[in-house]
Subunit: 188 residues, 3 copies
């Protein structure tokens, strides 16, 4: 595991170096542009798509807002900060049955009770491509704006403290105003 972590860190360092090189080579920026992603589905592959786009956009200085609603919130769960205190039976049940953070998300297709998911992550490793959790770390480091849907949190009985600390809890109108001011909006 230790070695696995080191390999990951080396890989990250390598990626960062490549990014720097590209920058110096004069990668054309799109500063002043803005992208808004509504992260609804909470599936591994779709979360990957959203986070790859978010990282790629930040690399060319596009501002990025990710608004997490419904199942999308499971991506931001911190497994070490989960709590069952003061929750109703339904909220506890949902807490138990739902994914515990980014790497625990299922696939949107061919999941086969986790077998397909396992195979895909193996294929990602074979290509030495970063895993979902690394794209999430990248997005946090590159200052993507993280919004969480207040109504979804209330209905699902998830507390903001159970999610990543950057998350700002907002209502649908805050998302909308931000989306209206963006150049690209996607519902993922």
């Amino acid at each position: 595991m230790e070695t696995g972590l080191q390999t990951e860190l080396q890989k990250q360092a390598q990626l960062q170096k490549e990014a720097e090189l590209q920058k110096n080579a004069g990668l054309q920026k799109e500063a002043g542009k803005k992208m808004s992603l509504l992260m609804f589905s909470g599936e591994y592959d779709k979360a990957m798509a959203g986070l790859i786009l978010a990282n790629a956009a930040r690399d060319i200085e596009v501002e990025v807002t990710m608004f997490f609603a419904f199942w999308g919130l499971f991506l931001l769960r911190d497994p070490e900060r989960m709590t069952q205190e003061d929750k109703t039976v339904y909220e506890k049940l949902l807490g138990w049955m739902s994914p515990k953070g980014a790497e625990d998300l299922p696939l949107s297709r061919m999941n086969f009770s986790g077998l397909g998911k396992w195979m895909l992550t193996e294929m990602i490793e074979d290509q030495e491509a970063p895993k979902l959790i690394h794209f999430l770390k990248g997005a946090r480091k590159k200052t993507v704006k993280f919004y969480g849907c207040r109504l979804s949190l209330e209905i699902m009985g998830i507390r903001p403290e159970e999610l990543i600390p950057e998350l700002e809890v907002v209502d649908a109108q805050t998302y909308l105003r931000d989306a209206l001011a963006s150049d690209v909006q996607l519902f993922i």
Copy 2:
């Protein structure tokens, strides 16, 4: 049930009052802006997301068009206006097997043959949040524009008379022109 209905009406009245208050408090409008939602999936949670956005947008005077295609059309079914007359065997079969209006839609995830859906609606009630049907009523009252995809209606053998009366049946190009003139477009 009578009491349930009264509670709902009170809740709606309360929501409306709050909306008025916000208005008077000078809620910043986004008049002249436009949002276009392509409602494809016909799932309870995704329909909820679309309708919450539509209602929130109308509250700040954003124009909203919802274009319903394929499974999305099941959201607009009026259970009391369904008919099997002049339908082929396939059309009848699809009519029987598919959801009969908004509250009958399944979840996009964790539906568990309806158990997950039932749990979610219980959780919505626990929070005294409005149900899907109320968001649909809100959108109709707030004059969201309802478009239905002609080709989808034809293929699925659904007649416009079986859907809500506000629905205008249009082709893909009418949707496109409207979307091209919008500030936000989402495929839900």
Copy 3:
């Protein structure tokens, strides 16, 4: 089969004639406008929605880019150009288990191991509406720009030679720049 093909060709010719007529009748163009579709899901009904929009957009001179990622790539597979050479076990497994081109895609809902899909395609034929493969042909003929996601191809072990020849393999940033310059962007 021969007759089926002829009927299809006649239908296509008919559609083309109708398109010409509409053009001459002065169908309002939207030249200079641009649409960007991110084709992620790889399901028959969603691919149909994307391709109908792409065709409709080209008919009014809107520029269209379709960026295929993850499952979306299965739509572009040419069953006659598939290969298992130089693939890992996982890549071969994925190749066997996944859809072999447009007409082999499953439905996003009510697929019922193919029964629902079969019923829907029968209903499409009853209406003499074109099948998915015809919309794909239409999009290719009408010069939709086909982009394929490099990272997805690498992870899934699909080679560009297995897909339609128009496909240009690009990275996420190329998609992003194109999307930022578009008037409509959808994630399908």
